[in-house]
Symmetry: C2
Subunit: 606 residues, 2 copies
């Protein structure tokens, strides 16, 4: 898509990992690698100060930054050496990543967040003295005395094995502690094997990131469709299923567990890690997904007044999520702010540092349910807007998910229609970002009027003679043909209008809540798998995000997954997630009398 002047997607091939990834233009090589589980040295967290994130461009062009000039000699620059954290990708690239040289004390995750490594998982190698009649200290107390800076609780199962392990290993053992629990005592020194998995449990997509938590190194990342799909595309249809059939909750839970466990096996295989070497998993998901995965009845989430079972979850085991890893592995599940501002958003806020940044920022995670957070370190307000399924491709005539064959980029340039299709395939449908692009382009050209109507054919022929013949009538409905069998229908435009009006109403009400003007927003973060692929220009054009200079609107990547990684790597960051529950004020829209008025005002295109 690089031929589309940065409007589409660029491809980066990393060696020696042999990984091919697609990112929006403007993303740094460092972030692109980090989001995709490719480790690059860094101790400053991508702020250009440590100068450790060296990469070499093998193929493609990567401009020389001012820092590169200070970091490298002329020969090195000519050979393609760059600092990854300053190198913004603008075209297809092939990049070589040198092996890690430092054992890091910190890792870079999320939106340029530098996380000091203090994982919940700790291993301690112990060489204990053997008991004698003069020293009858019991086995467990002998172990605990050797790690006396910690006072872990002990799982009974550990005690069952302890005596044999100590004696078989000549009292040279490794204690495995997760948070405040001693989960294992292993023979010999196993301190170099410390792994965790960060899950982003989405309604549609589930992502697993396997990390070496002692170094913060990403080892493998895999994603899969949530196997709950057959029950419906969004949380409401899944909640409804549990209300109609008492057995549905159990089945939905099993399907979530299957998805998580399948991904676990995949990342373990890819990273050459044994499942029993995974001692903790972190999970970010919306309230419904998390409730279902834990076997908690989600019905109260789905009907007014929309009540969660709890904001912060009690102690959870990885086994409670159906993940077959170490039998006593724990699970850190992100707390939810509200029934419709879930743990995925809390993780995203953590990853984007919303509560630490002094800039006024707007965080928008677009999906069937759109979560919106506005504010800065001073104050944060959040809400959820019911956007409907348009962005997921449902209820759209030729809608499809962002898979091979989906038109994801639509542009009109010099009177010609240009399409970007995923997977270099024949266009088969229109995904969310393509829908937004298509409508934005037609609004921009004047082929869709501000009320959202396709202009009459006469007007179209006058305004855009090269495109007017793309209008037609299918099954009695006016459509705009994008490519042979793929059309944008008048009803599709309406669906998108409703969706964007709901979202715009959300952030408008939050602006009012803070008493500020949209122009005061210094950054808009588009989060989530869909938001990250949305064209900022198109999003502004249709009024989905506030009218701001386009550079202020940025893709934040899979921030929920990044937040989950942070929780694995740092207990302090994990505590930060809990703090967010106190810091963020939830604004319920469903009982606002001004919601409908604003919504109607915002249906039009600006």
């Amino acid at each position: 898509m690089s031929e589309l002047d940065g409007h589409g997607r660029v491809r980066v091939h990393f060696t020696p990992a042999a990984r091919d990834i697609r990112v929006p233009p403007g993303v740094t090589v460092f972030d692109a690698a980090s989001w995709n589980g490719i480790a690059i040295d860094s101790t400053c967290g991508g702020h250009g100060t440590c100068r450790k994130c060296l990469i070499r461009v093998d193929d493609g062009r990567l401009p020389v930054s001012t820092l590169d000039v200070r970091a490298f000699g002329a020969d090195q620059l000519r050979e393609g050496w760059r600092l990854a954290c300053r190198a913004q990708v603008t075209e297809d690239l092939r990049v070589e990543v040198p092996p890690l040289v430092t054992r890091p004390k910190a890792a870079t995750v999320g939106v340029g967040r530098q996380v000091i490594l203090r994982p919940a998982i700790q291993k301690r190698y112990l060489e204990l003295t053997e008991p004698t009649l003069a020293d009858q200290t019991p086995d467990l107390e002998r172990v605990l005395a050797a790690i006396d800076d910690l006072e872990p609780r002990v799982d009974l199962a550990v005690l069952r094995e302890l005596g044999r392990t100590l004696r078989a290993a000549d009292y040279r053992v490794t204690a495995v502690i997760v948070d405040e629990v001693l989960v294992d005592v292993q023979a010999g020194d196993t301190t170099d094997r410390c792994f965790g998995i960060a899950f982003d449990l989405g309604t549609t997509t589930v992502v697993a990131n396997l990390l070496d938590v002692s170094t913060g190194t990403p080892m493998a990342v895999r994603s899969a469709l949530n196997a709950q799909q057959p029950f419906g595309g969004d949380v409401i249809t899944r909640i409804s299923a549990t209300m109609l059939d008492p057995a549905a909750l159990g089945r939905l839970r099993s399907l979530a567990h299957e998805t998580l466990d399948e991904l676990t096996r995949e990342v373990c295989t890819a990273a050459e890690v044994e499942p029993h070497e995974i001692y903790e998993v972190a999970l970010a998901g919306n309230a419904t997904m998390v409730h279902i995965a834990l076997g908690i009845d989600p019905e109260p989430l789905g009907v007014a007044p929309f009540i969660m079972s709890t904001r912060a979850f009690p102690e959870i085991m990885a086994a409670d999520l159906g993940v077959q890893v170490h039998p006593r592995a724990r699970a850190a599940v992100f707390p939810s702010l509200g029934a419709y501002v879930g743990g995925d958003i809390v993780a995203g806020l953590l990853a984007s540092g919303m509560d630490r940044d002094r800039r006024m920022r707007l965080f928008v995670d677009i999906g069937t349910n759109c979560e919106i957070v506005l504010g800065n370190a001073e104050r944060l307000v959040a809400t959820a807007a019911p956007a409907g399924p348009a962005f997921e491709g449902a209820s759209i005539r030729c809608g499809m998910r962002a898979a091979d064959g989906a038109i994801e980029v639509v542009r009109i340039r010099a009177g010609a229609l240009e399409l970007g299709v995923i997977g270099d395939a024949k266009p088969a449908g229109l995904c969310g970002s393509g829908l937004v692009d298509a409508v934005a382009a037609l609004v921009d050209t004047g082929l869709i009027d501000p009320t959202g109507r396709f202009v009459p054919e006469d007007d179209a022929a006058r305004i855009a003679p090269t495109l007017a013949d793309r209008f037609g009538t299918w099954d009695g409905e006016r459509v705009f043909v994008l490519h042979e069998e793929v059309v944008l229908s008048q009803r599709d435009v309406r669906a998108l209008q409703f969706a964007k009006a709901a979202i715009a109403t959300g952030w408008n009400l939050l602006l009012a809540e803070l008493g500020i003007d949209r122009t005061e927003i210094q950054q808009v973060l588009l989060a989530g798998s869909f938001g990250s692929y949305l064209s900022p220009a198109s999003a502004i054009r249709i009024g989905l995000v506030p009218k701001l200079p386009v550079l202020r609107v940025v893709s934040a990547g899979n921030v929920a997954g990044e937040g989950a990684k942070m929780a694995l790597l740092s207990l302090r960051e994990r505590a930060g997630a809990t703090t967010l529950l106190e810091e963020v004020e939830y604004v319920e829209l469903s009982d606002r009398t001004d919601f409908n008025d604003r919504f109607v005002d915002l249906l039009a295109f600006p």
Copy 2:
């Protein structure tokens, strides 16, 4: 046995409970009732100050105490009214217990211990406000806010049920908290149903006491043989079994679980309590029994240097003990002082208040392994002496357990042999207390000389003409015929000598440890099922306990079971058990160079 002038056992029949129990003479009606799970009103703990423990003698004689004279009128005394705490049983009785009239704040348990009721199990009835759009407090936080003096952890399983329960019960629910965990939220007000079971898990006998923990009322008590018996009578044979066969630990564990669960069903049925209304169990047992019941390899307990897996156990669920009660019921397992001074002894020390009493006391729990504790509130020392199986009836020619047909009392009066037999049956064998009585009587008469030898027949005929013809030779061994087929053999006397010498060596070394003389001991507590039935006079006569005025030697009853009850009724007492671990100094005998010298000195009869 009342014809034996208080040397045997007396029978007390309680109405309306319709319970028939046997106790050593001298025990108060209050203690007899309390040890056997029959509730009598009391707020002072049996100290004669509250005057609430009224009983009425229906049949038999119960002397009038000085307190009775103050508490009752002449008519009432004539009708048989007495204060149970002052009424010492000296003959067979039939006693009526009035229904409880007070809702107690304290209960009397153990050796006259008054326990302020503060059970780990707490129920709170809550009438919550329903959520609205203006109050979206999550379900769990709504419940926890209503019990904000507690901050319980929450079991995931509770969260799974919570939403449905709250809505079905119109937000009127009862929260069940055990220690620091919210284990259930139940529809409606269930605060009057709060039960726990105290287990004494003995190597031979297992006892279960079902208590209403909110009132301290004993509801039912049952005992059974430990189903592990086929693996051997003592802890060493059971440990050996696990060393010889890897599958034995699992089988032994199952057998312990079966015994505990069978007793659970029995006490629940007897008390008309549903198993799911049991929210906590407390368990006192020796280290081996507890290790096995929890599935922990006991091998290191059985071989030098005798190492426990732990002194204090981690969080245990009732299910870990195989007890099918409330699915989230917890278990409070008594900590052990050492491999051979286990949780049963810690419970016994708690029940007898050894660490609070200013009197110098000797606590002796006699069995295959004999635990001995000496001291007072100032200092406590403990040890274990390997007494061997003589007291359990094993290795004794006609030995048997204290069951129907066992000779349990032996006395020589005016040249005649008098026997007390359990269950009014034909004598079938000799149990431990009978063995001690028999040897003491023959030593006393001079038919056994101080070295432990049966005197020659000529001497016997001279010393005790009416008894001399009871000597005979069976299978080439000299025996003393007690009754037809039941004899005391020369080897039996030797076995008892070894056992009592081991025990006497134990308390002698503890006396030396504290630097005191035996005459300074103000009370000897005979604990455990065997110790409680031992004749104090005989125990003194053979040197099993120090030579002291006989009134200083008292039966303490099943103190381990009593300690377990205390743990159920009071978190403070439970904490006291942990404190005991710090307070009691364990003296290991197996590496003492002076052990053998003292042992040889103490083989003789004093």
